[in-house]
């Protein structure tokens, strides 16, 4: 017998509304304050490079941890047990790679976008266009998942209609980025990270209080009720190559996400960039450790049947757990946290997309670098509004579609197009314009084609019986392919000028400007 669910979820409740409007009021006040400090392109794109290492650590965490990781993983663990934990670890392991290979060279070599680093000793036009292709593909796919998730979640939690929720998210986000630029975006992300960590820590504590503060008692209770199977790998990893491919996308894709890379320009120097990844890795790792407890806590205390009755995807596990343990006020708080989570990520994505459209394409390709400060800023703001409108339209277009896969697809493109080009440009003297363009174009197109031929689209989305390409995530093939294609093309047609200019890259990478 399925227990009857009595939950305030989906009915507008005063506490949720209070937290929700409180968050909007605070962040709009921050935006108003930031707007008066956003007069130059440096301030708009990278907060004048004045963000401290600690602040950037929190902002990176706020930029990265999306609703998918907060609600999605807790839901996955609560309904599948151990299998959900595979994601908890996968979402973190890209961060050490970001630190070792990317953060410091990127900070010392570029200004606003990662294309600055790739294009440094190359011909600007082709490299910038190819980099914009990779960036905009990643940003668009990531935005689809965030917007569709936002519409569904806000409807579920506050009872708004799907379209109203999407338009509200779009408007508030455009407000942050358009007026407050990177300064407002940074502080929205910091506030979000603090709220998310506070919410997760409180919820974990409330769960553990029911189990004598012992996670092991909790796991034992889960095994007792739902069988020992919940503590070991289950059906999710039926194909080992699938797991390997997804793992590659998560691990190396993090180091190619444009909105994450852009954050390293907001700090004063490479040392601050280094420290900020250290802080972010600590926060994100702690958060994913907490999802172990949150997920199994929801499984034992709320129950998978109830969770799936409220939302088939399991996304309401954490909110239901909050309501059970802390009543309607705590539910309201967690709902506001989820909302803040989406806004912070969407703002970061839009800003990085706007930077590519204006800095890479308008300034460096169309105007060949001869652009005044005021025009740059105006183009960046037009791009922001355009991307915001696109985000809203994408959200409405994909209403009701299963778009969870677009996040792992975005990671696959980031790992296959942006990451190889960036690594080769930083570490390989022999890299050339043709090689860089090949890496990025092959990486992006191969990923898009293979995902179209994969079971994810052919079977899950289009409802077919078979797929030509066996893997759900193509990174296992496309990332090595992009590296190989770039290296072969560069070896076939060496560019002595680009090689000679590497001395400057080497110097600037270590010693700064």
């Amino acid at each position: 017998m399925i227990p009857q669910v009595s939950s305030a979820i989906g009915r507008p409740n005063t506490m949720a509304m209070a937290f929700f409007f409180g968050f909007i009021a605070i962040t709009l006040a921050i935006t108003w304050w930031a707007a008066r400090r956003t007069r130059s392109t440096d301030q708009f794109y990278v907060a004048g490079r004045t963000i401290s290492a600690g602040q950037n650590g929190f902002a990176l965490a706020g930029d990265y941890m999306s609703a998918a990781s907060f609600l999605g993983i807790a839901g996955l663990v609560s309904t599948t047990g151990f299998d959900g934990l595979i994601y908890s670890t996968g979402w973190l392991v890209g961060w050490p790679v970001v630190l070792f290979l990317i953060a410091e060279p990127l900070r010392n070599l570029g200004r606003y976008t990662f294309a600055d680093v790739v294009a440094m000793r190359m011909r600007q036009t082709p490299v910038r266009i190819a980099a914009a292709l990779g960036t905009l593909s990643t940003v668009t796919l990531y935005l689809i998942a965030q917007m569709v998730g936002a519409g569904g979640l806000i409807r579920l939690m506050f009872g708004f209609s799907y379209e109203h929720a999407i338009i509200l998210v779009g408007l508030v986000m455009i407000g942050y980025v358009l007026f407050g630029g990177m300064i407002a975006t940074t502080w929205v992300q910091i506030v979000k990270a603090v709220l998310l960590m506070t919410g997760a820590l409180l919820l974990t504590l409330l769960v553990l209080l029911r189990f004598d503060l012992s996670p092991m008692r909790l796991f034992a209770a889960a095994a007792e009720r739902y069988g020992d199977g919940v503590l070991v790998p289950g059906k999710l990893v039926s194909n080992p190559l699938d797991a390997l491919s997804l793992g590659m996308a998560l691990m190396f894709g993090t180091a190619g996400l444009p909105h994450i890379l852009m954050r390293f320009y907001t700090v004063p120097d490479a040392r601050a960039a280094r420290t900020s990844v250290f802080v972010a890795t600590g926060l994100i790792g702690l958060f994913y450790l907490l999802t172990f407890v949150l997920g199994f806590g929801a499984m034992v205390l709320v129950g998978p049947e109830v969770i799936q009755q409220v939302d088939r995807g399991g996304n309401m596990a954490a909110p239901l757990l909050a309501e059970l343990l802390g009543g309607t006020p705590f539910l309201g708080f967690i709902a506001a946290v989820a909302f803040a989570t989406i806004l912070a990520v969407v703002a970061g994505l839009t800003l990085s997309g706007a930077a590519t459209l204006s800095h890479d394409l308008w300034v460096n390709v169309i105007r060949k670098g001869h652009v005044g400060e005021r025009e740059q800023l105006r183009v960046a703001r037009v791009a922001t509004v355009a991307l915001g409108v696109v985000a809203v339209l994408l959200g409405i277009t994909f209403k009701g579609q299963n778009v969870a896969f677009t996040v792992s697809l975005a990671f696959a493109i980031a790992a296959s197009a942006n990451f190889p080009a960036l690594v080769l440009a930083i570490f390989w003297r022999g890299y050339t314009t043709a090689g860089a363009v090949t890496s990025m174009v092959v990486g992006t197109l191969a990923t898009l084609v293979l995902i179209y031929l994969s079971p994810t689209i052919q079977i899950d989305v289009l409802g077919g019986d078979a797929a030509w390409f066996p893997l759900k995530n193509p990174a296992l093939i496309t990332m090595p392919l992009s590296f190989l294609a770039g290296i072969i093309v560069a070896l076939l047609a060496p560019d002595p000028r680009a090689a000679a200019a590497y001395a400057r890259v080497e110097r600037q990478m270590h010693l700064g400007e």
Binding site: G90, A220, P240, L244, L289, F292, F427, M509, H510, L511
Partner: protein, 92 residues
Amino acid sequence: MRDSSPLRQLDRARWRMVLGLTGAMVLVYFGFIALVAYGRPILAIRVFPGLTLGILLGAVVILASWLLTWFYVWWANHHYDPQVDALNRGAE
């Protein structure tokens, strides 16, 4: 072209360090994934009542990420930065 200038030595030292650490991270994570895919009986071993080796190793992956990042930051602060500073002073 073998160049033994201090900058090139610094570059090689950092390159070796970050390549080694990235390799270590790849081993830790894909080792875990390989166990998830092929080592189900191993991960089902009970380390304590209620704690399987699988859950413990999941947490170990997160701890290892922390440890490797911490080690790199420590190395960079104590060995890399002083050399960068020395080179920058020499350049002035």
